[in-house]
């Protein structure tokens, strides 16, 4: 249960990093272009640490289990050849259904308001989650969380400020920000619905309790939206889910096609 859990954390980080990287060179303000790329780098960095740990865990599994763990033929061939896997194997050679990121992070950038909304919901989650996770009984995970906490504190400050700036800016920006909040909202519920592997990790003290995180998250989200003169969709709105179990949106396929292009087209090389 620990392997899917590590992958879940890593996949969130990779996919949001890939999304934010799409902004690089195309931001509305040079300083903000830099800020977003900074966040992208933090996420990719976290993804690397977690994939490295996941690879370590995977490489210790019995070979027969390794062989059936992922559907990817490219990974199976590595195992058959007696090779161990690494961070890039996990990022570049898994099939879409083996990715466990929440749907939220694969949402397209659309515009600055959507990017800010997605970032804000996710950063607020990460902030409370990593705070708790830095006390994980798994020392490696705790260390990653500890390191990420500094980064995510900055991310959350940045995205909160932008929610407020756009919400309380012009009429146009208020309208766009409210729309982005409304449309992004249905993708936040999944963050707090524990899968089996998450529940197991929570039971072992590896992962935080999602309900506690949700309470903190909801308070913070309300606080910031309030200051931004924005409102949340009515309570009880329908929430999308699936990502944590490998059932994604149509967007992920296109993302992975691009992300994995080099390794799929030119396999087994050093870059």
């Amino acid at each position: 249960m620990k392997l899917p859990y590590i992958l879940r954390l890593a996949d969130d980080a990779l996919i949001i990093g890939q999304r934010l990287g799409e902004w690089t060179g195309h931001g509305p303000i040079l300083e903000q272009d830099i800020a977003l790329t900074n966040a992208a780098l933090d996420h990719v960095g976290r993804a690397r640490s977690l994939y490295q740990y996941a690879a370590e865990v995977f490489n210790q599994l019995p070979k027969e289990q390794q062989l059936t763990y992922f559907t990817s033929m490219a990974i199976q061939e590595k195992i058959k050849a007696g090779e161990s896997i690494d961070e890039d194997t996990l990022a570049y050679l898994r099939d879409g259904w083996d990715f466990k990121n929440v749907l939220l992070v694969e949402r397209p950038n659309i515009d600055w308001a959507y990017t800010v909304a997605r970032g804000f919901f996710f950063d607020a989650f990460n902030f409370f989650y990593f705070t708790a996770l830095s006390k994980s009984t798994d020392a490696t995970i705790a260390a990653v969380a500890e390191k990420s906490l500094k980064e995510v504190t900055y991310h959350l400050r940045w995205s909160s400020e932008w929610v407020i700036r756009l919400g309380d800016g012009t009429d146009e920006s208020h309208e766009k920000m409210q729309l982005a909040i409304n449309e992004t909202w249905p993708f936040t519920g999944e963050l707090f619905v524990a899968t089996d592997y998450e529940a197991a990790m929570t039971a072992e003290g590896v992962a935080p309790n999602l309900q506690q995180i949700q309470t903190l998250w909801t308070a913070r989200v309300n606080e910031v939206l309030d200051e931004a003169t924005l409102t949340l969709p009515a309570a009880g709105a329908w929430m999308q889910q699936g990502g944590k179990k490998g059932i994604h949106t149509e967007e992920l396929g296109y993302m992975l096609t691009e992300l994995q292009f080099m390794q799929r087209t030119y396999p087994n090389m050093q870059w």
Binding site: G25, P28, R48, I164, L166, M262, Y266, W271
Partner: protein, 319 residues
């Protein structure tokens, strides 16, 4: 002081290798030349983000992805330093953007070539950053203080990028057949445009005299180009790549490599706007700017509101 004595004071500073600072008097020509050069340089950094940004989503490993992102981000940072340096001369960033977007201001033509394979990330770092450094290192001691200080930071990062680029090429050159072929192909495509980065031959290059005197320039185009060729040939040997120039050979007498004729009509053509990517690059910048208008408007409006609230709060307190 009279106009004459201002000029005298400026000349003395220049002649004694002192820096001119933003608050100092300076001749109009000096100011204009600097604004043009610094803003063009800033624009080059910003437009230069695009060809490399093109491979962020497709970088072949996570490490390469992170390094590439960081590199493109550094270029944004360089743009930022340089716009700031230009602003000290009395032009706003928005004005400079406007000049870029309307085609009034130029940027380095090298960024009008496409990045077609991953190897281009190596070639651009190795060759384009390499050429840029040769052009830029002398500017770290240029006469205008804010520019010189910006260039110190830029050059330090650029040489780091250049080494990263070379390392990508080395990895490919040591790799499989197809990786070597990628590296050679990228080298072939980027070599000649890199040589063009030093500008037209000295014989055709106008206004060099003042530029040299003002330390906006220290070596001539042809001198820098020769230096670049000499260095790069040796690096290509390390990589085991073929020089894409059948006329290239060592000239014992000159102590330099002779090299083939540069296709100057191509150079002028790209400068004129006909390179493979001129329209695409400019369109990407314009589009980012236009799509960002409402965001900048919101930021301005919010800042205004906040300032007004603060002022009101102070007043209330005072009352």
């Amino acid at each position: 002081m009279t106009q004459y004595s201002f000029q005298q004071h400026f000349d003395d500073k220049i002649d004694s290798d002192n820096t001119i600072e933003a608050k100092d008097w300076m001749p109009d020509d000096y100011r204009k030349t600097l604004i043009r050069q610094i803003s063009q340089h800033a624009h080059s950094e910003i437009v230069g983000m695009l060809p490399e940004g093109n491979w962020i989503s497709r970088a072949p490993t996570l490490r390469r992805k992170a390094v590439l992102m960081a590199k493109v981000q550094d270029e944004a940072g360089h743009g930022l330093y340089l716009y700031s340096a230009a602003e000290t001369l009395g032009i706003s960033r928005d004005e400079m953007y406007n000049q870029l977007h309307t085609g009034k201001a130029k940027y380095s033509s090298i960024f009008n070539y496409p990045t077609l394979t991953w190897a281009d990330m190596g070639a651009v770092g190795w060759l384009v950053d390499g050429a840029a450094i040769m052009n830029q290192v002398p500017l770290c001691r240029t006469s205008y203080g804010p520019y010189a200080r910006a260039m110190v930071r830029v050059c330090k990062e650029e040489s780091f990028h250049q080494r990263q680029g070379f390392e990508i090429m080395l990895t490919l050159a040591k790799g499989t057949d197809i990786q070597r072929k990628m590296a050679q192909d990228a080298f072939n495509r980027w070599w000649w445009p890199s040589l063009m980065m030093f500008g037209p031959p000295d014989a055709e290059s106008p206004n060099t005299a003042n530029s040299v005197r003002w330390r906006i320039k220290r070596l001539t185009n042809d001198e820098l180009r020769q230096k670049f060729v000499d260095v790069t040939v040796e690096q290509a040997k390390v990589l085991g790549l073929d020089m894409p120039d059948k006329d290239l050979k060592w000239n014992e007498e000159r102590g330099h490599y002779d090299f083939g004729a540069i296709n100057w009509p191509e150079f002028y053509n790209v400068v004129k706007g006909n390179g493979p990517c001129n329209k695409q690059r400019l369109e990407a910048r314009r589009s980012a700017w236009e799509k960002g208008q409402w965001v900048r408007d919101a930021a301005t409006a919010y800042a205004g509101k906040r300032a007004a609230r603060k002022a009101a709060a102070v007043e209330t307190k005072a009352a």
